[in-house]
């Protein structure tokens, strides 16, 4: 195992080096066992092992290497880990190395070295931007689904999804602060320090494992100390400050309305699998002010075949040398349009590498850095560019040529052999979050970059400092940071003093001389070389020119057509080149073309972190009643109704659902049965205007309801459609209790609150949800009174004392209880409500006393059958948002003499008064053993060809144990006028079931049974 061949010898190591050489870390890449050092990223460890080829391009499958050293990396996507902890598409530059890390290249077949789809390059003259819109139409139309698309899909995509559920957990945290500083480079640290000194609550977010920003990778001096040391000390002081929270490995992702910032903290990713605690924490931060100090990204230069492994950003090369002690190459060529890359040349030389030449696109580079490099004997070729490169799997040679004044194509003058090309095209401020905060950008002609436009500030309270603000001089960066921090603190109401920024030693930052496309021997797209603009999407300069030619003149259209900026790096390095080339093609200045929208998140975010704890059972916490354990003990089968688990039926001795339901129904009809009705929504309305309020929201008149009396009520929406139903009990003069359907409880509560708060705020009342204040047992059956009388010896439950639709308070089974004489089964029925906490005790007491009466628990299914036998509707089953009370034959529940109520006007509209509307009816199948499918559609002419004329549908359908035959409820056009007529239900299996329209009340039409 050859390893660490490219690690700089300790004696030449940079003072900035931040790896632990004494601590080797074993890892695997592409099946090979390699060794890095603690503190490495996967990228630095690969480079230390001389591994440059780490992936392949998406379209042409050309070899690709590591380009950058951070979040902006476009190329080096890897699959990390295996099994359920496997994770696709991580950027090697962001993966902290840990013991036994295993990484693999993505989207290569059969191997990274020999990739079959590299043959695509032969087709590259056809595979231009948007080619797929123009082709893949050949042959029969079915070839798209069968041939072309499957091929495209197989070729597309990077890594693979894990095979099973994630073993790790994620969490969310909310935080508030006065000043939020995003980025802990020199600007951010300086801002945080100034803000913290004012006493403001400060949060600082840093993407890196260490605060310091570019001070970690460039030799600087601040306040008389090495810059990285100043950063460490400043950060330590901040961390120790009681009002400061400094989070590292935490990336700010997005800015939303009301200064809401999301950020992800990577808690254990750097420790490897199995580390204790949550893996990632998503922060929701509400900040008083935001100081954005997110730095800048270096941008590449676009030249022919600029995509080979070993062609890297100069700043990244400098970072690998200084911070990780890695020499990404021994013979470097540097191509730049600014001074910063000269620092990289010096770093390489100091680290023991050689620099073959610096190619500077500027005619007359000068300045201390240039002179320092010249003094080291490095040839500097001014006014030169690279016109092409070669090297399979790693750059080997570059063709170079002086640039023509007009940048017209040039034949190469000579070649240089090399194993590294370090490129700098200047810097782009990281303005993503400024733009998300609705701040606008201005083009800075001197710096050749977009900067936050102070004249068009963000809607969110953001200020920007340092390189993110287009400021690249260290002294000024520190000053801007301090100012921004102090100003933010002042804006948040604190007194911040002006501070003198520390003295610095740093080379001057000269602006770049922009060059967006380095010419080669032919115009882009016409020679053999490809000028890549977006490495991740294999977008070339020729693609952008084609897009412009085809009329994609808006930068957003160009992006969508060429995919430039659509990758997982979101074009952090390449976007500026893409839009500059578009501007050139359109003959417009860059600011006129503008940028595409900066969309959140800044870097990709796991869905796990987004969901946090809201997974599995906590996706939607189950609501259960206090009797739930009793149902479970009886082996009940549950169903989901809204958020609730309700017992659907209680099978005994191997019964199936039908048998259990039949038994439960018989018990209710013949003896006594009990339903857990605790889940029904319960709302108390209290106040002097409660009665007036209810008169407006229910179709019935409730102001005339006597105290202690109950009324069945309907609630309509604005359109006159039935929204919910339930009972209304007048508990007192100013106090009502409403019940709602189980599923509709929250909706009704919201609706009533909305009406009260926005429509009739003058009404004096309060609404309180009491659903889980009262547990309810519905005791139904001819023996219900006998049973309850035994449990409530102090209460007179006789028909005279407690008639139907009356309510009384008392003691049942020793528990304080409300007893309601209402019936949803048609049988003599009492709903007994006791405090939620003693619901179980009530249930137990019922069964203790109920044995001799044959008390049987019944579930929702039997309840549905029993009510259907009586023709009672269920909202959501007999209704679907289109059904009015008139359709259901509930005219009697519409108050004729009362004032206005919600939906009343709508009921009078033409369509709702049509005489051919669908009516609720009963259906009896020809074959009494045939249970119609619920949802079956009904037609008059079963032989009609589709589209058939449907006259209605089956809403409910059961085998009725009471009637010993099947019954169904249906909505049928003109149904009430069609009693006795036949309709047909054509089923999916081809059968057609005949049924006769009948009255929807199948049982006890006279209602004799409800009084027992």
């Amino acid at each position: 195992m050859s390893t660490d061949l490219f690690r700089i010898p300790p004696e030449l190591a940079s003072p900035l080096e931040d790896i632990d050489r004494a601590h080797p870390v074993a890892f695997r890449f592409d099946g090979k066992r390699l060794r890095g050092r603690a503190g490495d990223t996967l990228a630095s460890a690969l480079l230390a092992n001389g591994v440059h080829l780490v992936g392949r391009g998406i379209k042409y499958h050309r070899p690709r290497g590591i380009v950058a050293a951070g979040a902006e990396e476009p190329n080096a996507l890897v699959q990390v880990g295996q099994g359920t902890r496997g994770e696709p598409n991580l950027k090697a530059t962001q993966v902290a190395l840990f013991d036994n890390l295993s990484a693999a290249p993505v989207n290569v077949w059969p191997s990274l070295k020999f990739d079959a789809l590299a043959a695509n390059e032969l087709l590259s003259p056809l595979m231009v931007a948007g080619f797929y819109y123009k082709t893949f139409k050949e042959g029969p139309a079915s070839w798209w689904d069968r041939v072309y698309e499957p091929l495209i899909r197989r070729a597309a995509g990077w890594g693979k999804a894990p095979p099973g559920p994630d073993p790790d957990t994620y969490e969310h945290t909310h935080a508030h602060c006065d000043v939020l500083v995003i980025g802990a480079g020199p600007a951010g640290l300086s801002a945080a320090k100034a803000a913290a000194e004012s006493g403001a609550r400060v949060m600082v977010l840093e993407d890196d494992a260490r605060p310091g920003g570019h001070l970690l990778a460039r030799p600087r001096r601040v306040d008389g100390r090495p810059g990285h040391q100043w950063a460490a000390e400043t950060a330590a002081a901040l961390a120790a400050h009681p009002e400061v929270r400094l989070l590292t490995r935490t990336t700010a992702l997005g800015v939303y309305a009301t200064a809401h910032v999301t950020a992800v903290e990577r808690l254990t990713d750097h420790l490897g699998p199995g580390a204790p605690g949550p893996r990632q924490r998503l922060w929701h931060i509400r900040a008083g002010r935001i100081v954005l100090a997110s730095g800048a990204h270096e941008r590449p230069l676009v030249f022919a075949d600029n995509d080979r492994p070993g062609i890297m950003l100069a700043g990244a090369v400098g970072t690998y040398v200084h911070r990780y002690g890695v020499l990404p190459g021994r013979r470097a060529v540097i191509l730049t349009n600014n001074d910063s890359a000269y620092e990289t040349a010096l770093a390489l030389l100091d680290g023991g590498g050689s620099v073959v030449a610096v190619l500077d696109t500027r005619r007359e580079p000068s300045g201390p850095l240039v002179e320092a490099v010249r003094a080291r004997g490095v040839p500097i070729r001014a006014g030169y560019g690279i016109t092409g490169t070669t090297g399979r799997g790693r750059v080997k040679r570059v063709w170079i040529s002086p640039l023509a004044e007009d940048l017209s194509p040039r034949i190469a003058e000579t070649t240089l052999d090399c194993d590294l090309v370090a490129v700098s095209g200047g810097f782009s401020p990281v303005v993503h979050l400024w733009s998300q905060g609705q701040g606008k950008l201005a083009w800075d002609d001197r710096q050749a970059c977009f900067v936050p436009d102070p004249a068009r500030p963000a809607v969110e309270p953001i200020s920007v400092a340092g390189a993110a603000n287009g400021c690249f001089e260290l002294a000024e960066i520190l000053a801007q940071g301090a100012n921004a921090g102090a100003e933010a603190a002042r804006a948040a109401g604190f007194t911040a003093k002006a501070t003198t920024p520390p003295g610095v030693e740093a080379p001057p930052a000269t602006p770049p001389a922009p060059i967006w496309l380095v010419p080669s021997d032919k115009p882009p797209g016409e020679g053999v070389g490809k000028h890549f603009v977006d490495l991740q999407n294999d977008t070339t300069a020729a693609d952008i020119a084609l897009a412009a030619r085809e009329g994609m003149t808006s930068v957003e259209l160009m992006k969508r057509y060429t995919l430039a900026g659509f990758g997982t790096d979101q074009g952090k390095t390449g976007n500026i080149n893409a839009l500059a080339i578009l501007a050139h093609e359109l003959g417009k200045p860059i600011p006129e073309v503008g940028t595409t929208t900066f969309r959140p998140p800044y870097t990709p975010l796991t869905f796990g972190a987004m969901a946090g704890r809201q997974v599995g059972a906590l996706f939607a916490p189950e609501r259960v009643t206090p009797m739930h354990d009793r149902h479970r003990a009886r082996g009940a089968v549950f169903e989901d109704v809204g958020p609730w688990k309700r017992a659907r039926y209680y099978p005994e001795g191997g019964e199936d659902m039908d048998a259990a339901v039949a038994r439960e129904c018989r018990a209710a009809r013949q003896a006594v049965a009990v339903l857990d009705a605790s889940t029904l929504g319960k709302i108390e309305v209290e106040g002097p205007d409660a009665a007036a309020f209810l008169d407006r929201v229910y179709t019935n008149t409730l102001s005339t309801l006597g105290v202690g009396r109950i009324r069945y009520g309907l609630m309509l929406n604005d359109d006159g459609r039935l929204m919910d139903d339930g009972t209304v009990t007048r508990l007192g003069e100013d106090r009502y209790l409403l019940t709602t359907t189980t599923g509709g409880a929250a909706t009704v509560m919201d609706w009533l609150e909305e009406l009260h708060q926005t429509e009739w705020p003058e009404l004096d009342l309060h609404l309180t949800s009491v659903t889980d204040r009262w547990a309810v047992a519905q005791v139904a059956g001819p023996k219900a009174r006998d049973l309850l009388a035994e449990l409530a010896p102090d209460m007179d439950l006789s028909a005279q004392a407690l008639p139907f639709m009356r309510f009384v308070e008392g003691t049942v089974a020793g528990l304080p209880a409300r007893v309601f004489r209402i019936s949803f089964t048609g049988e003599l029925s009492f709903e007994v409500a006791v405090p939620w906490s003693v619901g179980g005790a009530l249930w137990d007491a019922l069964f203790k006393a109920g044995g001799k009466h044959g008390l049987t628990p019944f579930g929702t299914e039997a309840m549905h059958v029993l009510r259907a036998e009586k023709g009672f509707i269920i909202v959501g089953q007999e209704t679907d948002g289109s059904v009015t009370p008139l359709d259901l034959g509930l005219d009697w529940a519409l108050g004729k003499k009362k004032g206005d109520y919600i939906g009343r006007r709508s009921l009078a509209r033409a369509d709702l008064a049509r005489d051919d509307r669908k009516h609720l009816v009963g259906l009896l199948t020809e074959d009494p053993g045939e249970v119609l499918e619920e949802g079956a559609q009904l037609v008059d002419d079963p032989d009609q060809a589709p589209p058939m004329t449907m006259v209605g549908h089956v809403t409910s359908s059961y085998m009725s144990p009471t009637l010993e035959r099947s019954i169904a409820l249906a909505l049928v056009a003109r149904g009430r006028q069609r009693m006795g007529q036949t309709v047909h239900a054509p089923l999916a299996d081809g059968r057609v079931v005949k049924a006769t329209i009948v009255d929807p009340v199948f049982y006890d039409k006279e209602g004799k049974r409800r009084d027992g």
Binding site: N89, E138, G551, G720
Partner: protein, 418 residues
């Protein structure tokens, strides 16, 4: 003028000249003084309207004017789902007509809109869901629309990545399945219609915001734009989230509210979701693009707003819903999210037809589901503009249904309850 078809051979021919001779997809146009018809809004619906006005109704003189760029509104911001399995007859017929147009669209437009009939699953998690799903399947079948109810095993067979275990918080009990449904490349739909319309002589005019209407005695005579006044015999408004704004300019009101709606994509991964998966109960819709991204639609923000900017908790909810269906996707990553502005109607059905102003027509209110109807919407709206009367397919979708009460309530059947 006969246009030569674009295909592999034309690509090869163009490659010989280094693709230097491709024409613009749609011609750059500046407004003329008068048109037979002006369509406001160069989204898919508007462009399709212009295309069919010429193609089906023989108009020669049509312009589409757009304040921004072609396809920059909801056409380029949706989750690209196409299906026709709607509950009510009115909707089913309209969307099915559209689906049939989709099936021939790539050839019709001579532009590959990548319409992929991958099938659409609509999951049922509760007894209630199952009942509603069967009702819809039955209604679809009798309306001549392909529809099937799949049980749990059937669901698993169609989409093996779904966790169908009964122990999930909301176990999957079954699903409706429309095999002919699927997804399309949304941008290409706008570009394809723009290109085809332009080839038929339609002026596609970008960067041309409407600032007002020329209305004389209750009759619309044209529009006032950033590029001057343009008169027209007929004007159609097809501007989605901005509908109520333009209606306001014309002096009438719509029962439409605009809300932010967000969608998002994951990083591209190898194929793992073979069809479209929708669930109303957990509120998710998911498919995978040809590029490999998981495409996820979130719910609307409840607040009203014209900003194309939603809030993050809505996305978190969508991520949680995704993981309830596909727990294995927890380590996959959100790459990009964005917002659009949707125009929602009280009954979750569109408005396509006349307005209180003569010669001014409107096509709006598609809410969260307009993409699927792009060709059909354009087709019926073109008929409406050309003849002055709605086609039978869109007659039920008139603005006056809010007066008559003849609503087409698709809340329940829309798959995802907003």
């Amino acid at each position: 003028m006969a246009q030569r078809a674009t295909n592999l051979f034309s690509l090869a021919r163009q490659a010989l000249s280094h693709h230097r001779n491709w024409p613009r997809l749609w011609a750059a146009a500046e407004p003329r003084r008068h048109y037979q018809a002006i369509i406001i809004g160069a989204g898919g619906h508007g462009l399709a309207t212009a295309y069919y006005l010429v193609r089906e109704h023989g108009l020669s003189d049509v312009a589409v004017i757009e304040r921004g760029w072609v396809g920059g509104g909801n056409t380029g911001r949706n989750t690209t789902i196409v299906r026709s399995n709607y509950l009510w007859d009115e909707s089913a017929h309209l969307y099915e007509h559209s689906l049939k147009l989709w099936e021939g669209l790539t050839r019709e437009l001579d532009y590959n809109v990548m319409f992929s009939q991958r099938g659409v699953l609509n999951l049922a998690h509760t007894v209630h869901d199952v009942r509603e799903a069967k009702r819809r399947v039955n209604a679809n079948r009798l309306n001549g629309i392909d529809a099937e109810f799949l049980d749990r095993d059937g669901v698993k067979a169609v989409c093996p990545g779904l966790d169908v275990s009964p122990t999930r918080r909301f176990p999957i009990l079954g699903a409706t399945w429309q095999k002919r449904g699927g997804v399309a490349r949304h941008d290409a739909v706008a570009w394809g219609f723009a290109r085809a319309a332009s080839r038929l002589g339609v002026d596609v005019i970008e960067n041309c915001p409407v600032e007002g209407f020329l209305i004389d005695n209750g009759v619309c005579k044209g529009v006032r734009t950033g590029k001057g006044e343009i008169t027209a015999d007929k004007v159609g408004i097809v501007v989605a989230g901005q509908s109520s704004v333009l209606a306001g300019m014309a002096g009438f009101r719509l029962p439409v509210t605009s809300h932010p709606l967000q969608a998002m994509v994951s990083e591209p991964i190898k194929p793992v979701v073979p069809c479209v998966v929708m669930s109303g109960q957990v509120h998710a819709y998911v498919s995978q693009s040809d590029k490999g991204e998981l495409v996820l639609g979130a719910g609307i923000d409840r607040r009203n707003g014209y900003g194309q900017r939603g809030s993050f908790p809505v996305l978190e909810q969508e991520a949680a819903a995704l993981l309830e269906l596909f727990p294995a996707f927890s380590r996959l990553r959100l790459m990009r999210s964005w917002g659009g502005t949707v125009d929602t109607c009280p009954d979750a059905s569109p408005i396509i037809g006349r307005t209180p102003i003569d010669n001014l027509f409107i096509n709006c209110g598609w809410g969260t589901g307009g993409f699927k109807s792009t060709p059909g919407s354009g087709w019926v709206f073109a008929h409406t503009l050309a003849t002055g009367q709605p086609h039978p397919l869109n007659a039920p979708f008139s603005l006056d249904r809010f007066t008559s009460g003849a609503l087409i309530d698709e809340h329940g059947a829309a798959g995802v309850a907003h």
